[in-house]
Symmetry: C2
Subunit: 373 residues, 2 copies
Amino acid sequence: MFAFDIRHRCPRTSARGGVLTTPHGAVETPVFMPVGTQATVKTLTPDELYEIGVQMVLANTYHLHLRPGADIVARAGGLHSFMNFRRGLLTDSGGYQVFSLAGLRKITEDGVWFTSHIDGSRHFLGPEGAVQVQEALGADIIMCFDECPPYPCSEEAVSEAVRRTSAWAERCRAAHTREDQWLFGIVQGGVYEELRRRSARALKEVGFPGYAIGGLSVGEPKQDMYRILRVMDEELPAERPRYLMGVGAPEDLLEAVACGIDMFDCVLPTRLARHGTAYTRRGRLVLRNADCREDFRPIDPDCTCYVCRHYTRAYLRHLVKAGEILALRLLSFHNVYFLTRLMENIRGAIARGNFPEFRRAFLETYQDQRGPG
Amino acid sequence: MFAFDIRHRCPRTSARGGVLTTPHGAVETPVFMPVGTQATVKTLTPDELYEIGVQMVLANTYHLHLRPGADIVARAGGLHSFMNFRRGLLTDSGGYQVFSLAGLRKITEDGVWFTSHIDGSRHFLGPEGAVQVQEALGADIIMCFDECPPYPCSEEAVSEAVRRTSAWAERCRAAHTREDQWLFGIVQGGVYEELRRRSARALKEVGFPGYAIGGLSVGEPKQDMYRILRVMDEELPAERPRYLMGVGAPEDLLEAVACGIDMFDCVLPTRLARHGTAYTRRGRLVLRNADCREDFRPIDPDCTCYVCRHYTRAYLRHLVKAGEILALRLLSFHNVYFLTRLMENIRGAIARGNFPEFRRAFLETYQDQRGPG
């Protein structure tokens, strides 16, 4: 039912191209997963995701646990049926949200008490509960409940988070019963190399079919993230899928692929769209800018997406300024398309053996004009 | 380039089925036009409108004049190109908006000074200007600049509005130069039969290829609207298209079709969608209601639209409660589909000669549970 086959290896970096087989189809890796926090990739339909070529979507356990509740989703036949998405689904464990988003939390050895952002009610989530909720949601890949420390954070606090994450990983594995789901462990350890190694080794000892790297892209300098990725490349089993959580900036995707990462998720493409910003081959385009007012070119002349084939910057700028929902739809579509094509091109370059050249050429023309991301 | 052919006449009512030929294709009548105020039918793409079977869309001159400006739209190649909609387009004249929406207005014989709702800037719109802006926008059918009085309104004030509307109609006709556009006159007169007759006769004297009925569905009792429609049926030329502005409730569409109306527009289907309400064959469905929580049926089991084929009430309720844009998209799609199918069925019934039976059967099961319309 599940498999991970590496088909191509870059001879000069750790990049690899493979196929992740799930009960809902084969996923070519490296893969970017757009985020469908509340059982919808914001503004887009599943049919549009298919048209874009999206192979897998991430949904958030924390949000769906609170609303509509995993029981409703289970009665609907699981998340695939509920949201009408028939390809791969992955749920996070809720750990990141209860540690970073939910207010008034209280941490115990068994999990976390937290306050719902919706109605202020008190809830508890721990390793067994997070697995139970994720089994009810029914994604193809589910995640261990972990403690994701903030950045910056003292080595002592991160060490404690690693200890707890390792203990919870063992409990998650014991609690997991569904054979049509893969449960991944999550490495923590912040920017501390030794803690990262310790965390990875503890998870390997428990043994998982895949390993995620959490707690990066949380505010640390990019060079620290890249340094940790190189450490992870040494520590994580080479034959298992590796998933870098919450990373989606094009330059980071390229760097992480070079360190052997196979899977990514990030809210960036849909969030940038909601801020009226579009990816182009040359960097980000802010459509509110006055120079788009009478610019009748597409967002990106090199792009072949539905939006770039039918709409001008002038029209999109008008929609953004008028607050029209169609702007969010069209920009979300384009941005997810852009990252999906980037990953496709990365896979092609790995297969052809020229990933380092592809990466260099891409970064030469792509200028990351930091927007409101 | 333009024609209006009546092909079927109901033997027992004034209902008729016809074809309105425009430079952007043939429109089967009676027809419902969804509203694309700011050059987009809120939340929907043109491709979705084609899939639904929408034949013609109304856009608002007032809004597009203020933003992005008719000059930009003209430089984009006109409204069809700008918004990428290749079927029929109709623009209103802006009269309704400057009289009812725009604050601090000052009325003169030449037009209206008003304050922009966007930035408070002062603008002037009169008969010549409204035609000029609409020629720049380039819709297939454009409207005379009219004065739409509020409801209730004294007979004297409505009489004055009729006088001004008639004078402006003549000036609009004189100002209109594009031969690839049809200019329609607009009858005013509130709920006063004699004023309605006077207004219709004045417009007929000027002579237009089509006639609109404005100033109804602005708060008056339904019976007053229906009474005026019967008067209009007597006054308006039988062979010219008749357009009832701003009407879209199913029961009103049926009544107006019986009075020989051929065209309708209304924001209701998209506005109801934004309030989380969907049309069904039995009446309106409010998705926030708790009884949708575990209702895994489609919105309307009789509906064949994309939404009803793929989504449950439970999922749509979740999206509405979570504030997800996909909810607005899916409900807008369904509601426009519902009215488009209703008009299609009305046309079929007229062609078969059993429109009165169709109307009775529809109203027997359709219960208008007034929502937040």
